[in-house]
């Protein structure tokens, strides 16, 4: 755990793995709920870091962090969020080729995986989902699309994501969902928040 000061009121805590990020993030949320964490404006987990902003005394927290014994992320007993997917994306065949298998097998493996929301970013409600083993990690498209449709289920690097709205994007599109990823009137507005477990449920399609 390597804490790096960020400006006057921020702290970027660097960790060795996504698992450590998940564990520290859960611990920070637990302490914030208990009232044993100093007041903080933002707690932003990412790939290998947790960023805290709005701290009155970041250096004091660095000293305190050194004394913490962070347990592994506690098991999530809430049911996984299920996202129904039509596996009809334009890049499904390319992903099948990259995985050296068939499109049906891509559907089977993707929908057979339990994902975790590692962090959010890119757009409100866009979650970076981990869970695919390393051999199934795929590169981004060589040429990003100027318009990816809302609800596109996509892969890039170690991540799966769902586009909460139409936007430019370079990920490999394997399917689409009607699930509402972002609704400002909902609490929480984001369907996928850091730490949430997610499963994709295939809908019957005629490909």
């Amino acid at each position: 755990m390597r804490p790096l000061p960020v400006g006057e009121h921020g702290l970027l805590i660097e960790l060795d793995s996504a698992e450590e990020v998940g564990a520290l993030h859960a611990e920070l949320l637990r302490r914030a709920a208990d009232g044993t964490l100093p007041p903080v404006g933002e707690i932003v987990p990412a790939a290998r870091t947790v960023f805290l902003d709005g701290l009155a005394d970041p250096r004091g927290l660095i000293a305190e962090l050194a004394t913490w014994d962070v347990p592994p992320r506690p098991a999530d007993d809430r049911p996984a969020v299920e996202i129904p997917v039509r596996y009809d994306g334009p890049d499904l065949a390319d992903v099948a080729a990259l995985w050296d298998t068939t499109p049906d097998e891509v559907v089977r493996r993707h929908s057979g995986t339990t994902f975790h929301v590692a962090f959010c970013g890119f757009a409100p409600g866009f979650g970076y989902l981990t869970g695919l083993p390393e051999p199934l990690h795929v590169p981004r498209r060589d040429t990003p699309r100027t318009k990816v449709p809302v609800g596109s289920v996509a892969l890039a690097g170690p991540y799966t994501g769902v586009y909460p709205r139409s936007s430019p994007g370079g990920w490999q599109l394997i399917g689409t969902t009607d699930a509402v990823l972002w609704d400002a009137r909902r609490e929480p507005a984001a369907l996928l928040t850091p730490g949430t477990r997610v499963r994709f449920v295939p809908l019957e399609t005629a490909r």
């Binding site: 009121h9 960023f51 902003d53 409100p124 400002a184």
Partner: protein
């Protein structure tokens, strides 16, 4: 109270509804948004008796004009500009009573970039996550103003609590940005860090509410490649592959993969809202430790 509204007569180059933004949602990918010149936003609100949280209009370079449907107290702050009510000159930086049906026009900035227009009662568009701010990165909040658009106003809060004496800001001849190094200054060579504090940078015309881009000498990297995405603060000096620092403003993305060489504390950011393209930029390193005295000769 359907009369409490304004209609947009001249939207200007880019006019948005802004307040103090929606901090606390970065973990959902939601930028903070909010007024770039927060002191100007706060002052405009005080002048018309609003709390600082009330929403104002933030203009860009060319101002804007609105017709109020009911008599309203208005104040214009931020970038100085000619203010008129139905064509007659009115003061900048002071409460102005605008009769029902009259057009308030905040003209092009004399200098600076962004003016704030506060209306007694505040702009009363729908809140999204506790804020009415337009976020131009992710599209949350109201769209930028367009001609003919109608915006509701809230009920007036009461008379102004204090009569501020508002000094007319001078032109920004140089944008000075004090910064604290890190968290990724180690990704740059010593020469790269020196270039940041000694190079001649100017504000790029490609700047917007997401970031103030610069033109100048590229900063030399000690490490190549991208970082795994990490949380990005307001005021980050993020350095993309072209080596030119971008100062992250209020609509900045919440995570990013380019190294942040330093961070400009929020209290120094308001002048960046008023720096027009071409303005010289000077980055001044703040010491975490006592700075070594510069040797002479």
């Amino acid at each position: 109270m359907t009369d409490r509204a304004l209609a947009v007569v001249r939207a200007g180059a880019l006019t948005t509804v802004q307040d103090l933004g929606r901090p606390g949602h970065a973990h959902l990918g939601v930028p903070r948004a909010g007024a770039l010149d927060a002191p100007a936003h706060r002052l405009a609100n005080r002048l018309v008796g609003n709390p600082e949280t009330a929403a104002t209009l933030e203009t860009t370079l060319t101002g804007c004009a609105v017709r109020v449907r009911t008599a309203t107290t208005v104040a214009v702050t931020g970038a100085p500009c000619p203010v008129t009510v139905d064509g007659r000159p009115a003061p900048w930086g002071a409460p102005v009573r605008v009769p029902a049906g009259a057009v308030l026009d905040a003209g092009p900035a004399v200098h600076g970039l962004r003016s704030h227009l506060a209306f007694a009662g505040g702009i009363d568009t729908e809140e999204v996550l506790g804020s009415r701010a337009a976020d131009l990165l992710s599209g949350l909040g109201p769209d930028p103003l367009t001609g003919g658009a109608v915006l509701p106003l809230g009920a007036p809060y009461g008379p102004p609590t204090a009569a501020d004496a508002v000094p007319h800001p001078g032109p920004v001849s140089e944008l000075v940005l004090p910064f604290l190094p890190g968290p990724r200054d180690a990704w740059f060579t010593r020469a790269g860090l020196r270039t940041l504090t000694t190079g001649r940078f100017t504000v790029s015309a490609a700047s917007n509410r997401i970031g103030l881009r610069t033109e100048g000498p590229p900063l030399e990297r000690a490490r190549t490649g991208e970082l795994p995405s990490e949380g990005m603060p307001l005021g980050a000096l993020q350095v993309p592959p072209n080596g030119l620092p971008v100062l992250f403003l209020h609509d900045h993305p919440t995570t990013g993969g380019y190294p942040v060489i330093g961070v400009v504390p929020e209290r120094f950011l308001a002048p960046a809202a008023q720096a027009v393209p071409g303005t010289p930029v000077r980055f001044v390193r703040l010491g975490r430790r006592p700075a070594r005295a510069a040797h002479s000769g």
